[in-house]
Symmetry: C2
Subunit: 772 residues, 2 copies
């Protein structure tokens, strides 16, 4: 862990150039717009360690599975987000020597991710080996207003020489995914054209035939005037560029405006790709860079209006939460229900597939509270559309009915190939059911059940029905051979969380059926027929609910993570020599498995999800037992613990957990930010403030707040959307003020007291338990 | 499963050519001599499906590990038996058309593995597409008398044409391992030379620098006279050959004698390789093919004298047991203590590494009874030499002391990379300890303990000591996160077999220590110092022995394979629809894992190893519970069940299990013989006759026999070496005759009655329980 980024409320700032942290910065300074995005690679060539990465949402490749030892049931392919055409490239050549920061003496380096306005900028002075110095400033956006557009302003000033600058803006599609299983390239060239100040390149994927056309155009100004220098068009395999040589005097300013459009066959007909790209490109170039910047600032202003969190008295925490919110907003905007939230967003390509249970467990709550309900709904519909594939997946594993959603997916098919995860980490099915409950409960949109939700719930319940079995000796139902959320245990029996979420799914499915029978009888009848649902099935679910086996330890009053958990040697993390941490880097896998140490919330995940069913004492006993043996080596772990710690009044623990989740990538806690940011867990950071310190819960459709102040902040405030109104919740050491920024009145409960906040007005509650 | 091989007492016979079974036959008809060997590929070119395979014992390659998902502790490499220079090749070209059985009409095809004499022969008539017919006969040996020598007599007769035969004997080192992880070739060329009637080729491995020189020489006779045709030497990358064109008339007989020597840097200095190869080659060529054949017959006669088993009244069973014994004898001869018994011998390259626990559990008993004690001793010393690596392996996994022998190895380092096997299938350590006990008990050679055995025992006991842990609530020691012999369960707690063999190892180590203290006090003191053995350690072992936890079910009176086993749904294999079998091909891995079905003996393996500690009733209860839920999908399974079934008087079950183990490859039971034969499990077949039907046990150093007749055989007999004497045990329906073929008297117990068999005489016991 190396902290090299400057603390700032609104920006991420790097103030010197270090090749050793370049790949981390490439991840952290990434920019995107939900449709496309990429790592903060340099425009000019760079020969140091770097992961060149540009990604188009939903454009993927089924890469042939690679395993050491095949297990029946493994998928043939792993769908990977595709690294696609590099559209940012502008090579600079100074009297025959390439400008390359890896081979220059770099001073006054500054890289800034301006999160308020959505820009990535950079400035530096570089002295080449031959002593020539240039000063460079660049600013780059991926447009939030025009999803297919990216733009760059790149300025270069020769400081101490007269000579020739050769400038080559280009599009390079000869790109390889770093994590390709067999070191293959995934793209074929379709067509290309290079002209004097523009060019385009169409590639298609070797499988599935995704087409992507990238088009670029550029203007070069010397001291404010458009250059008259002639450009030379270059075409190579999967590459187009234009080379312009310009004679310069010291202190001349050469500015390149590069515009790029990236369009895909996901949104355009194959025959229209080039025209669509050109049209978008022309429009952007015509608008000009300044206008694009203004549009960008406006678009981000709107985003922040909905989702900003303000923390006063702690700039580091302030920066961190904005960074998390910024990344989430530039990764997914909910406009396209075929998309989902990849674990690294557009910041890297590790973990390939786009969708994990992270979406349902962590991201849905964020979008529920910070965006229109349709966004979270689209995330749910994404799974609805994959229901048939999830049923096929269950059949493939030998189930005669029901649906098992994949652990990792792009198009609904399972991608993952670790048996203990792919086949056994089936609690994911429960999270998908839970997200339906969460959505309906939060939004009050019961119509979702009849339209989409019930079908998913029934098929998941059917899966659970077949996955458990009855043990006559116990007169109970058990579930053998699973992996819970704590992936530091594999193939265990009766993981409490999985048993509980399975049983809960069946309960909720029965509730949903009852709701529809009463309120939408026609749709109810229709669905019964469509699903061929039998009374014997719902009867069986009731029996399983009644007779599900839950491992517990009566003496300690805790739920057991799994059968036999207390046979382990129980050692607390604080008693482990720091040399041994993180376990996942220091210990052999079997040592981790047989230890008591927990990667991420497991029993506690259940106590968070089903928090209204357990009393504080139960939560406390379990938290007190499990948290001290939890190593939080998943980015998804600290947030759940922060939330529960808040609920239990463990403010220091909550704050510790909050810092760990919020600055995970900024401080490179897990020593892996170079692979990309932990995008999905960023929603967890948001949750630790809003559900944690803010104490937000929706109980029986009613908004509840129980804010507390971690004690390190003067005050903090967050915004939430709830049933049409947008509320600003401000928390100081002594009081909570809820301001309704819309004209739709909102009812809510603060510290157990009921309030109505009328449109455009506020209520204030005095908090006795705000501070520790 | 397709039975296409002819039943014969002494030979494996194939009577027609079928490209669809060619790869199976290549495995089954393999020949070798313990030093080298290869698959039954054709001498002439063959364009059909084929795995060309020639292997030199101990010449291996560390192939970079390939996994889907890396786990800490995995080895960097998997050491693979190397497919090396093809020395059998003789290409035949008929007027410009290659002789290629894949492109010819083949009649009168006959391939014979003569196990009595150790020859592979083949004859056929082939009609080429142009109508030309030739008749071919070949016979090939890998010399048991001269380990570096192979020889071929290849005869070809043009039947219906006059024309030109072009004959190209060659050595081809441009060979790839079929299972190379990254599709790489492993050999580089060092030097080569091709002369008129000879040539040599030296290759070295790209890593580890194993050098192999192959040299060939040939003589061609036409109608009995040496041809005068000029040979043209050919040299290509990693290839030497000589092309001879011969004008032939119909019914001319052209005979090629090809001699090859293969020498390696394992046995010769680098500078001497070519000379050594030439010397061996010259000597063989000078002796001539007929002499080599005679030597071969003599050598095999000696082998059979020691190890033959005769079954009367069941030719199929007779053929099968001889096939198993033949394969074992041509795979390993015990002369080189750096070698071990690869899972496929020289018949294929799957599973790479050479040594599994198969050696200790299955092969040691075979060599103990059929060869000089030094052979089994060498197998033990092989592990002794790997002790330091086994200690390193334990350190790598986080243990502060003790040794964990690898799951799969070539040079003592772990090769395998499946966490549930590599890290968890640690019962292998127990089998290595058990083999020491077995050797000492069988041979009476107590000196082994002081010389080698004790060090291994102490380090294994130390491993167990650290691998278990004390659970205060239980006041017992448990062992979590293991995989037992039944690999259809992974990462279980308290596998009965593993707990039992661990505890037994500590018991035996304490016994061995006590023996040495009493009988070899000087060595004892020396070892105590060398091992830095503390009283606290032996004290701890006693405590663990006393307080080891064993899962049992009191009600059923059985040992539980692992904690919670009875929570599974117990279904017998007979109640599984045959469509679902074999499970490992029909079911997803998780379904197998959570089912009750057992791959191979687990609890029962323990009851076999430690058979003298459990009464018949206990064995019966466990067998009756476990065998019906065992699918025997490991080649190592049926033999243990056959042995226990004999002991329990379950003759039909024993016979069923015997057939399954003995004809596994001949009948291609597991549909995978094309990858190579199941060499190590062949020792299990031998065990099912000698330990099973023969009832051989050595109890407190005394030989015990309890023969029974499975009821399908008129009689059977087997030979065993025991403490210097060689005994022929003949069993009919009514009596057992033990004939001492040596002049060293032997004491033994038959059906509980004590006998002494003097040199060169017999005793006969009447058997009341021989038949069912």
């Amino acid at each position: 862990m190396k902290q090299y980024l400057k603390i700032d409320e609104w920006s991420i700032i790097e103030e010197s150039f270090d090749p050793g942290t370049q790949e981390i910065s490439e991840s952290v300074f990434s920019i995107g717009n939900g449709y496309m995005g990429g790592r903060a690679n340099f425009e000019e060539q760079y020969s140091g360690h770097s992961l060149q990465g540009s990604y188009m949402a939903g454009v993927y490749y089924p890469d042939k599975t690679r395993v050491g030892w095949w297990k029946n049931g493994y998928p043939e392919y792993f769908a990977k987000v595709l690294n696609s055409t590099n559209w940012i490239g502008i090579n600079i050549d100074i009297d025959g020597t390439p400008l390359d920061l890896a081979k220059s003496t770099v001073t006054d380096f500054r890289r800034v991710l301006n999160m308020k306005e959505g820009t990535l900028s950079r400035s530096f002075t570089a002295e080449l080996e031959d002593g020539k110095k240039v000063q460079v400033e660049s600013i780059r956006i991926v447009s939030m207003a025009r999803q297919e557009i990216g733009a760059i302003r790149y300025s270069i000033v020769p400081l101490n020489f007269a000579g020739q600058l050769t400038i080559t803006p280009y599009l390079d599609g000869d790109i390889k995914n770093k994590d390709a299983n067999y070191d293959e390239k995934f793209w074929n060239e379709v067509e290309k054209q290079s002209a004097e100040d523009s060019g385009y390149l169409t590639l298609k994927t070797k499988k599935l035939d995704f087409h992507v056309t990238s088009a670029m155009a550029f203007d070069i100004l010397v001291n404010g005037d458009k250059t008259t220098a002639q450009a030379e068009a270059i075409e190579q395999e999967k590459y187009v560029g234009s080379r312009v040589a310009i004679a310069v005097q010291p202190n001349d300013q050469v500015v390149i405006y590069k515009y790029a459009a990236n369009v895909t066959s996901r949104n355009h007909g194959l025959g229209q790709l080039v025209d669509a790209a050109k049209a978008a490109l022309d429009s952007a170039r015509e608008a000009g860079f300044v206008t694009l910047l203004t549009e960008q600032t406006d678009a981000w202003r709107d985003k922040w209006k909905e989702s900003d969190i303000i923390i006063e008295g702690d700039v580091s925490a302030q920066q961190a939460i904005r960074f998390n919110i910024f990344q989430l907003n530039q990764t997914y905007n909910g406009e396209d229900d075929r998309l989902n939230i990849g674990p690294k967003g557009f910041t890297g390509e590790k973990y390939g597939g786009s969708t994990y249970w992270d979406t349902e467990a962590y991201c849905v709550p964020f979008y529920l509270s910070t965006a229109d309900a349709s966004i979270a709904r689209n995330l749910l519909i994404y799974r609805y559309k994959h229901l048939e594939k999830a049923k096929e997946n269950a059949r493939k594993l030998g189930f005669t009915k029901g649906a098992l959603y994949p652990m990792v997916t792009m198009n609904g098919e399972e991608c993952h190939n670790e048996w203990e995860i792919t086949f056994e980490e089936i609690h994911r099915n429960g999270a998908i059911a839970y997200a339906i409950y969460n959505y309906v409960n939060y939004t009050g949109d019961q119509s979702y059940l009849g339209q989409y939700g019930l079908e998913v719930l029934v098929e998941i319940s059917r899966f659970w029905e077949e996955r458990v079995h009855y043990v006559p000796r116990k007169d109970q139902y058990v579930m053998l051979g699973v992996t819970g959320p704590n992936e530091y245990e594999n193939n265990v029996n009766n993981n409490w969380y999985t048993n509980r979420i399975a049983s809960w799914t069946m309960e909720y499915t029965l509730e949903a059926l009852a709701y529809l029978q009463e309120n939408e009888p026609a749709r109810y009848a229709e669905l019964l027929e469509k699903l061929e649902l039998q009374d014997s099935e719902t009867g069986k679910w009731s029996e399983i609910i009644a007779k599900m086996y839950y491992p517990v330890d009566e003496e300690m009053g805790i739920f057991l993570q799994q059968d036999g958990f207390l046979d382990k040697e129980i050692i607390q993390v604080k008693d482990v020599h720091p040399e041994h941490l993180p376990l996942n880097q220091k210990w052999s896998w079997d040592r981790i498995l047989r230890s008591c140490f927990i990667k991420q919330a497991d029993v506690l995940q259940g106590l968070y999800f089903l928090g209204d069913r357990y009393d504080l004492d139960t939560k406390k006993r379990n938290f007190d037992f499990y948290e001290p043996i939890t190593v939080h080596e998943s980015s998804l772990s600290p947030c759940i613990h922060a939330i529960l710690a808040c609920e239990l009044g463990y403010k220091e623990k909550a704050y510790e957990m909050y810092l760990r989740t919020s600055r995970l990538d900024l401080d490179n806690y897990n020593n892996d930010t170079e692979d990309g940011c932990h995008t999905t867990s960023m929603a967890g950071t948001w949750m630790s403030i809003v559900h944690g310190f803010g104490g937000l819960r929706v109980l029986n459709g009613r908004l509840n707040l129980n804010p507390s102040n971690p004690g390190h902040w003067t005050s903090y405030s967050f915004k939430i959307m709830f049933r049409g109104s947008r509320l600003l919740v401000s928390v100081t050491d002594t009081q909570v003020t809820v301001t309704n920024e819309t004209d739709i009145p909102a009812s809510l409960t603060i510290y157990g007291q009921e309030y109505t906040v009328n449109g455009l007005s506020s209520v204030t509650a005095q908090g006795t338990n705000i501070t520790a």
